[in-house]
């Protein structure tokens, strides 16, 4: 089997500030990888390098494209990268405002990716948008409202629908439950888990919340000061942490 994503020797620094250093990992189709660490550990830098938002200093990010097989997305043309970003990839931002068009209706937000890849039938676009709003539990009657009027949890669910409508194979998530209340978080996690499993999606989830990765991730990477300090199956890492930093992370959660 060909891995969906293979990362080799990826580094990115901001002057004296490290970012992330020499990261290597492989993501297989249908697998969910969690990346945990405190803020400043380099996990968001890593995610943005993977998704093409940041250009890494060194290293490869090899994605198994549909048409042409494994390709290094770091060296591919901007046009190809943007095409991937609106077809095979999805990116869920922590703050839904960064991932939504706040001045465009919910239906338009979901329909944008369809239109960007050439959909030109209003009725079909609308029907698909309605279907996806339903799947993320947003009432179809609110389709023509702008996301401004939505609660934080609804905005986040709308962002997910907008991303998944073109049937991506790989979804990047940056603290997807970050700014939400605990009860809303639980519902969103439940929804995400259902979607990921049902659609057979691969995902890379960055979070500082171990409960999120416990629920969603098959495998886990622990980052500190730009380095991956521990990696393994999620349950293994959380139940039997080897690195002192992981032990600290796990114990601090358990104390709560």
């Amino acid at each position: 089997m060909t891995p969906l994503l293979r990362v080799e020797g990826l580094s990115k620094s901001y002057g004296t500030h490290p970012g992330c250093r020499d990261v290597n990992f492989t993501l297989w189709p249908g697998e969910v990888m969690g990346i945990v660490g405190e803020s400043g550990s380099g996990k968001s830098t890593l995610l943005n390098c993977l998704a093409g938002h940041l250009a890494p200093d060194t290293g490869k990010v090899i994605f198994d494209t549909r048409e042409r097989g494994p390709r290094d997305t770091v060296t591919m043309r901007e046009s190809e990268r943007r095409w991937l970003a609106r077809t095979d990839w999805a990116f869920v931002h922590q703050n839904p405002r960064d991932g939504l068009r706040m001045a465009v209706s919910a239906g338009g937000n979901v329909g944008e990716r369809l239109m960007a890849v050439g959909a030109r039938h209003y009725g079909d676009i609308r029907a698909q948008a309605e279907d996806w709003l339903g799947r993320v539990e947003i009432d179809a009657g609110r389709m023509d409202e702008r996301p401004r009027a939505f609660s934080g949890g609804m905005q986040q669910r709308l962002q997910i629908a907008r991303n998944l409508v073109t049937g991506p194979r790989l979804i990047f998530m940056d603290e997807p439950t970050g700014g939400l209340d605990v009860s809303v978080q639980a519902r969103l996690l439940d929804l995400l888990r259902g979607l990921v499993r049902r659609l057979g999606l691969s995902a890379v989830i960055v979070t500082h919340d171990l409960a999120v990765v416990r629920l969603l991730a098959d495998r886990l990477m622990v980052m500190k000061d730009g380095h991956v300090v521990e990696e393994g199956l999620t349950d293994q890492v959380l139940d039997d942490p080897q690195h002192p930093y992981t032990q600290l992370l796990v114990s601090s959660v358990l104390q709560v």
Partner: protein, 282 residues
């Protein structure tokens, strides 16, 4: 006016403009940056069109200038007089007799022929400008054919109003590649852009852009399959002067009691029709 060169601009400037025009013709719908000059009329009053016209004119040309479809609106008169003065070329109001036509906001009703040049005055050449104010970003969007956002804008119109609520400056796609602003012509005129035998040039002076539609270029107005583009005008009206039912009409308020009538916006088309009707009657 002997101290000015033929058609006002010096030859080096005209050469620069012609290079930009040639590039624009070679890449239909692509906005070519050019070094716009200060002209003796204000920016926004047709400086782009005037520069393009100046670069195209030769002494044998016959020039027609219209604004809002009319030959006698003040700005059309002003620009026509300018070229008569600085180029000494012949002018005309007859669309069929003109070799170069400069226009603001309309395409003449009389179909254009091969060999004619239609020069549009363009205020804002960037069709994506009101979706994205940044030039660096819109140029990237064009380069990468990233036009989803444009379609979203049309989607939003239908969701809110039941139709695409754009009456003029209606965006088009050129040869299946560049999305282009046809200048603020009413969308009624959009079909005339498509497969026109004339060369169509667009000049935006303030924004320093020239773009072009070479003859017989495919020009499609953006739409949805189930909400197709319709070139609309005043519903069910005909011109009160010449009776034309196929022309674009201006509404004229005739009295204080709200009385109104509709007349052709293309004054030359209207008067020549009216004259031939009188001739028939006589």
């Amino acid at each position: 006016m002997t101290q000015y060169n033929f058609a006002y601009l010096d030859e080096a400037t005209k050469r620069m403009l012609r290079r930009a025009i040639l590039k624009a013709v070679a890449i239909p719908g692509y906005q070519v940056p050019f070094s716009s000059r200060e002209m003796p009329m204000p920016y926004g009053w047709g400086t782009g069109g005037v520069q393009v016209t100046a670069a195209c004119l030769v002494p044998e040309d016959t020039l027609k200038v219209i604004d809002q479809g009319a030959d006698d609106t003040t700005n059309a008169v002003s620009i026509r007089k300018f070229f008569a003065r600085v180029a000494g070329i012949a002018t005309t109001e007859a669309t069929a007799r003109a070799s170069v036509i400069q226009t603001r906001h309309r395409i003449p009703e009389t179909p254009l022929a091969a060999g004619q040049i239609l020069v549009f005055q363009v205020p804002i050449p960037e069709p994506l400008r009101f979706l994205e104010p940044r030039e660096t970003e819109t140029r990237t969007m064009h380069a990468l054919e990233d036009y989803g956002l444009m379609q979203v804008r049309l989607y939003e119109d239908i969701a809110r109003h039941g139709e695409i609520a754009r009456a003029y400056a209606y965006p088009v796609r050129v040869e299946g590649r560049y999305v282009m602003d046809p200048s603020p012509i009413p969308k009624f005129d959009n079909p005339k852009l498509h497969m026109s035998p004339a060369l169509q040039l667009f000049g935006a002076g303030r924004e320093c852009r020239i773009y072009a539609l070479p003859p017989f270029t495919r020009v499609e107005s953006l739409d949805f399959d189930d909400y197709p583009f319709t070139p609309s005008k005043a519903a069910g009206q005909a011109c009160a002067i010449c009776g034309a039912a196929d022309s674009y009409l201006d509404e004229v308020i005739t009295d204080d009691a709200g009385g109104r009538m509709f007349v052709c916006s293309d004054t030359e088309y209207c008067s020549s029709r009216a004259a031939s009707q009188q001739g028939d009657a006589a």
